[in-house]
Amino acid sequence: MIVGSHLTKRYPGGYEAIKDLGFEIAGGDMVFISGHSGAGKTTLLKLMGAIERPTSGSLIVNGQNLTAMRRAALPYLRRNLGLIFQDQKLLFDRSALDNVLLPLEIIGLHPREAQRRARAALDKVGLLEREKANPIALSGGEQQRLAIARAVVNRPTILLADEPTANLDPESARQVLDLFVAFNQVRVTVIIATHAPHGIPGRQPRLITLDHGRLAP
């Protein structure tokens, strides 16, 4: 469950990317955040992912108020979130498997258990045969799916994805969306920022539309 009220984010320099925003996302929801370029979609995801801190207002994620949290506590909160970045942030100095292992190394999981879980995540996104490949050798769609594997390997309760289907051909975009639907079906809250919300057959995801940092009327 994520609740924002009077949420405001002002970047250094003074620009207000999110202005007095109020919203509520229930656990297990699937939500699209849309809006024009510069509307504040990425900023809102970063706030929910505890990467940027609110300037004022409150933002409660998994029962914790991010406005009031100590900096040292943030890493532990992030571990329960799965983040998929606009630029993916894969590491090109190691294999696909090692990319997926990183979150598990961070929580100090036993190496054997970590290997097992990382392979399971790669299997889920259909990349198990490519585990030894360097991400640079993967296609755009495969890289996106690798980023998803890394995001879900910690079994997060919330998945936050920034433009996960931009730059993908329709077929790859479909595969990626299907993955999000599959995770949502097992009660993972899925929040996707996108210019163009996709229709999903048989489902009616919620839509939050931003306009210059506010909810669009």
Binding site: P75, L77, R79, L83, K89, L91, L102, H110, P111
Partner: protein, 299 residues
């Protein structure tokens, strides 16, 4: 195995991997660290050997007591009595004839001695008191010098004092040298760790985004710094051992020529371990300073 231990092990493994990933850099910084540690450590070993040399050369403290020239039998006898009474320990009488014979037998002196019109040497005593401390010897010297018929008292421990002062000076010099090189070693680690942090900037950034604590990010660099320092210390130990084994033969040959059984002694394992630990501690320190700065700059 608990999580804490496992995380440290993992950090250690990552540190090893990073050192291994840039073998040439690693080798070069190990060499620099090793040499930086070799100089003060070699100085220490040298002093240690000189100290041992001093001990082996001056096992017994002696006082030489010279009577006035032309002293008669009575004076010799009364001095003997006084020595018996005043000095616990041993003494030996060296008549002037014996002294001259000895002089004659030393190389190149025979002719000179033969050319002398008469024996210029006085009767003498060599005293080895049981208490050989510099203070006791000094008191004894003053007492003996006041006896009648005693022309001169020579304390053979004077050079021991000088030797001691020289050793102290040497030790101070080595300590200063060690302090300077400790700063240098810390600076070298600071720099290599800084390069490592910059090379790992992407991983650090991503790891933070997905929930890594500061400790998780810093730990491998600390281990890396400590590991470099420890290996550098061992490299220094190796260099010193090589140097010593090269010197060993010539030194013992020289010692034999001087009728001494002196041999060089190297670094015992305990001191090698100490060298490695000091290196590790300084490496850890350098890494800590470096990582703090680099990560602050990254924010």
């Amino acid at each position: 195995m608990n999580t804490w231990l496992r995380q440290h092990l993992a950090a250690f493994r990552r540190a090893l991997r990073r050192l291994w990933a840039a073998p040439l850099n690693t080798l070069l910084s190990l060499l620099v660290i090793g040499i930086a540690m070799t100089l003060p450590a070699a100085g220490y070993v040298l002093l240690d050997n000189i100290k041992a040399l001093g001990k082996s050369a001056s096992g017994v403290q002696q006082i030489s007591l010279f009577l006035e020239a032309g002293a008669n039998r009575d004076l010799v006898r009364s001095t003997q009595d006084r020595l018996d009474a005043a000095v616990p320990g041993q003494w030996r009488f060296v008549p002037r004839e014996e002294a001259l014979d000895r002089l004659k037998s030393s190389e190149g002196m025979a002719e000179i001695v033969a050319s002398l019109p008469r024996n210029p040497l006085p009767d003498a005593f060599i005293v080895e008191p049981r208490d050989g401390s510099p203070e006791a010897l000094e008191t004894l010297r003053e007492t003996v010098a006041a006896w009648p018929g005693v022309a001169h008292v020579q304390l053979d421990s004077a050079w021991i004092k000088r030797f001691d002062a020289f050793l102290k000076l040497g030790r101070l010099a080595v300590s200063l040298l060690a302090a300077v090189f400790a700063v240098g070693l810390t600076a070298v680690t600071f720099n290599t760790i800084r390069l490592q942090v910059l090379a790992q900037a992407d991983e650090i950034q991503v790891a933070r985004l997905i929930g890594a604590t500061d400790a998780f990010i810093r730990r491998p660099f600390y281990y890396s710094g400590a590991l470099q320092g420890a290996l550098g210390g061992l490299a220094a130990g190796l260099l010193i051992s090589l140097g010593l084994s090269a010197l060993e033969e010539p030194v013992s040959r020289l010692a034999t020529l001087y009728g001494s059984s002196f041999t060089l002694h190297g670094l015992p394992p305990l001191q090698l371990a100490l060298l490695a630990s000091v290196g590790a501690a300084l490496g850890w320190l350098g890494a800590q300073l470096s990582v703090s700065l680099a990560i602050r700059q990254m924010d």
